[in-house]
């Protein structure tokens, strides 16, 4: 580990993290986790020896760590030895008729095309449909510009020097319990490298939504924006996803060099479980970006509607002078969902600035916590932070909690934090209903208004999906 990485590690306290995961249906090998399983997994993936050794090293670190319990979350003990860490593809349903009608109804509501529905539901598709060829076309175009966009498994083989330089540089394997676990057993994920001065012309991943699915429960993503480059990356999608794997522990690392900008948008809609919280996904994610160079910028936007348990804190380490970090989040918890999510903004460089806009919506028995750290180091002359964390409660059985940590060691820095908690006001509701809008639509209208600032930060196509998703999620929460 070089000096810089050590410094970052020192600054970023370990008890607390970020990250993310995606999914799919898979079948299992023998459950349990040990060195043999990891070697087997690494071999199956055809990885070089150095990668296998990294995984083993991470496994040893993980063994010594304790699962964190500080978050405002209640869930049963997870038995890590009962989980399968290598899975072969499962037998797929033959047609949509075999798929849960509830899911089909959601697809319909969200306006997802039939072919895409099939893929999402894991139906075996014989004919090569459009997205694959579109995908190939775009890949060619990106290649011409020098942009590398491939799976992390492919990158380990094809671009070992980039992987060795950057993987674990933002989220060290010892960062936290779930990051260590991911480092040992990560299945697959995305790798992006944008060369100097290149502005990536596409929203990455939208077209690859379907293909990118087979990454499993321990996803690992690494995005590097070289000097003066720009990339916007979208992860997840609004369609509800079923997954037999209850535990998800993803890691995302972003690196923005001098004058570079990375925009990372997420829609997360994993299966939330039933009204008692049974069967939902546990999503423990470590996401972190480092603004390594001057004038660099990292922006996280997330819409979190799924999972039984969400534990994620997409963060920015603002190392370069004048670098900028942003976090825009909408998190909805209904049914028996619990979310403990927020961000960490670590100001190290001069004139660094960060903005946090978090909107939490709780309905039914949902528990929604914002947890955010703003840390201004003594070196961060003239640093600025502004945070706004608002919570909306719908119904009297849910909970909304705000836990900011605001630390400043620099007298010229400015931190400003505001938070409000309220329910939808009766006057607002009455006003809209008096104008002939039914209650459910009125609530949805108010919720959209409440989230507007965040949704406005999503790429256009994603924003439309997010809107429909909000409506769908809120259905049945009112009254």
């Amino acid at each position: 580990m070089n000096e810089e990485q050590k410094k970052i590690q020192e600054v970023v306290s370990r008890e607390y993290e970020l990250g993310f995961s995606v999914d799919i249906e898979e079948e299992t090998a023998p459950p349990g986790l040990n060195e043999d399983i990891i070697r087997f997994l690494s071999k199956k993936k055809g990885e070089p020896e150095w990668m296998t050794n990294m995984r083993i090293q991470a496994f040893h670190i993980w063994q010594k760590m304790e699962e964190p319990r500080w978050a405002h979350l209640k869930y049963d003990v997870i038995d890590y030895q009962s989980i399968s860490y290598y899975a072969a593809p499962k037998k797929k349903p033959k047609s949509l008729d075999e798929v849960d009608p509830e899911i089909l109804r959601a697809y319909e509501k969200l306006g997802i095309p039939l072919e895409e529905q099939k893929a999402l539901a894991g139906v075996a598709v014989d004919a090569v449909f459009d997205s694959v060829s579109i995908g190939t076309t775009f890949k060619e175009k990106l290649k011409e510009m020098g942009i590398i966009f491939c799976s992390i498994s492919e990158a380990i083989k094809e671009y070992p020097e980039l992987i060795q330089k950057y993987m674990f540089s933002v989220v060290p394997m010892s960062d936290n319990f779930f990051a260590a676990l991911n480092s040992a057993v990560f299945t697959d994920g995305t790798f992006v490298y944008v060369p100097k001065g290149v502005r990536c012309p596409l929203e990455l991943s939208t077209y690859f939504r379907i293909n990118a699915q087979n990454t499993g429960q321990f996803e690992r993503t690494l995005i590097i924006a070289d000097e003066g480059s720009y990339v916007s990356y979208n992860e997840g999608c609004s369609a509800p996803m079923r997954d037999e794997n209850q535990l998800h522990a993803a890691v995302v690392e972003l690196i923005a060099l001098k004058d570079a900008e990375i925009k990372y948008s997420t829609i997360q809609n994993w299966y939330p479980g039933d009204e008692e919280g049974r069967g939902g996904i546990y999503n423990f994610v470590t996401k972190r970006g480092v603004c390594a160079g001057e004038n660099s910028k990292i922006s996280w936007t997330q819409v979190e509607t799924g999972s039984a348990i969400t534990w994620k804190y997409p963060s920015c380490v603002l190392k370069g002078d004048n670098s900028v970090g942003e976090f825009y989040s909408v998190a909805i918890t209904t049914k028996a969902q619990q979310a403990d999510t927020g961000t960490k903004m670590i100001h190290i460089g001069k004139n660094t600035s960060s903005t946090i806009i978090s909107k939490g919506i709780s309905a039914m028995r949902g528990q929604n916590s914002y947890r955010g750290l703003v840390k201004i180091q003594a070196s961060a002359q003239n640093a600025r932070n502004y945070s706004e964390c608002d919570s909306l409660l719908i119904g009297d059985k849910c909970g909304a909690h705000t836990f900011p940590y605001l630390e400043s060691k620099n007298a010229s820095a400015q931190i400003e934090h505001e938070a409000t908690t309220s329910k939808i006001s009766d006057e607002q509701l009455f006003y809209l209903r008096q104008r002939g809008i039914n209650e459910e639509d009125a609530v949805s209208m108010i919720v959209h208004g409440f989230c507007k600032e965040v949704l406005a930060n999503l790429p256009m196509e994603f924003a439309a999906e997010a809107k429909d998703l909000l409506n769908l999620t809120l259905e049945g929460s009112v009254g």
Binding site: W70, D396, K397, A400, A411, H417, E418
Partner: protein
């Protein structure tokens, strides 16, 4: 006196220090659930409790002495030294304590304190309490209980004096019970000009129906001092909390406050101001929790901090934990330097930079000091802040 290094003791040996009486048994049960405080204890995250507990100190048990009559209640090294003649004061083995306190030291303090000084008040009074410390190198634990009866209105001024003692660690705290319709105002001034002792204080307030608890705390200067306060508000109860903290040198001053809305229509107004100088550290860790039964709550919280120089370290944690939709709640926190626009404005009126800054900082602090109703006390507190601020400017 025997030596007590709390960090070297396990839970059982601390629990074994407790006697059989009800209070200590209750404390022991609660402590066994919480475990001992450690680096991972959330409310000690920024206040190094393990370092304090690892000191080699002798356990000093307060000794009852012959007490004089005086206008003030004076507590010297944990025992009553003097008290007003009309005050109903007693020393008891057992009192009711909080079974759900968040702080381990609250229970440890109860376990190692032989008995509790209790005061019962059933009329409207003002009371001055002075804590005096004279012992070097000891752990001094003591506790105070106060019961304010139906409808009584009480203002209590609390102050601290010490004979430049060295290395001592003081555990103390109030258990305050407010009966229906009563009013209790606590004005605490803790002015540590020289770093002489460390203190972990842990308080509990139970505010019954329609009662009001008001705290105005003024922390000035040095020392390692943490006040943990938990307030339970029942139906229609009110909590008015104002905190002013001015730290300098290597001070570490913490206010950890958890206000719990248990009954409906309770109200909380909390305002804090911090001014930090030198290498000092201030921690404001304040949670307002509205339970499902706390319908109709009104809860507002605000903290503003000014750092006078770069080595100072402010930690602000305003928190809301809400389990009901029928309420209004908000919080805000700002940390920064003296506003340059304000300084400039005053300078364009001919006031020099240093004077302008001083006026602005004192004005910033005055907003809290103005909350003290008694004019004489208010001036006295203002004077103390002016004094320390002037001393600093000369340096």
């Amino acid at each position: 006196m025997r030596e007590l290094v709390l960090s070297k003791m396990d839970l059982n040996s601390i629990l074994n220090l407790s006697t059989k009486d009800k209070t200590k048994a209750t404390a022991a049960v609660a402590l066994s659930h919480l475990g001992l405080p450690s680096k991972k204890t959330e409310h000690y995250r920024y206040f190094d409790i393990t370092q304090l507990l690892s000191k080699n100190l002798n356990l000093y048990q307060p000794v009852a002495q012959k007490a004089d009559q005086n206008e003030k209640l004076v507590i010297e090294d944990g025992a009553i030294a003097s008290f007003p003649s009309d005050l109903k004061i007693d020393v008891k083995d057992e009192i009711d304590i909080d079974k759900e306190h968040f702080d381990q030291i609250y229970y440890i303090n109860h376990i190692i304190t032989p008995n509790v000084i209790t005061i019962e008040i059933d009329k409207d009074i003002e009371l001055e309490v002075v804590h005096r410390f004279s012992k070097d190198g000891v752990i001094l634990p003591y506790r105070l209980g106060i019961a304010v009866k139906n409808g009584a209105k009480v203002t209590l001024y609390e102050d601290f004096e010490d004979k430049n003692i060295k290395e001592s660690l003081i555990f103390y705290g109030w258990d305050i019970s407010l009966e229906k319709d009563s009013y209790f105002e606590l004005v605490r001034v803790q002015n540590e000009l020289k770093r002489s002792y460390s203190m972990v204080a842990s308080h509990f307030v139970k505010a019954d129906e329609s009662s009001e608890f008001s705290i105005k705390s003024f922390d000035i200067g040095e020392g390692k001092i943490c006040h943990n306060l938990k307030v339970d508000l029942l139906k229609d109860a009110k909590c008015d909390a104002k905190h002013l903290v001015y730290t300098d040198k290597e001070a570490v001053r913490a206010n950890v406050i958890k206000i719990n809305h248990k009954g409906k229509n309770a109200k909380t107004e909390q305002n804090a101001r911090h001014v930090l100088k030198d290498k000092s550290r201030a921690i404001f860790d304040a949670l307002i929790k509205v339970e499902h039964s706390g319908i109709g709550a009104s809860a507002h919280q605000n903290n503003k901090s000014i750092l006078l120089n770069d080595k100072a370290y402010m930690i602000s944690k305003p928190q809301l934990e809400i389990y009901i939709d029928e309420l209004e709640a908000s919080h805000g926190s700002t940390t920064g330097q003296i506003d340059p626009e304000e300084v400039f404005y005053l300078r364009t009126r001919g006031i020099n930079e240093e004077e302008a800054k001083k006026m602005i900082v004192l004005g910033f602090m005055r907003e809290i000091i103005e909350e003290v109703k008694d004019e004489e006390k208010k001036d006295e507190i203002m004077r103390r802040f002016e004094e320390i601020y002037n001393i600093d400017l000369i340096e």
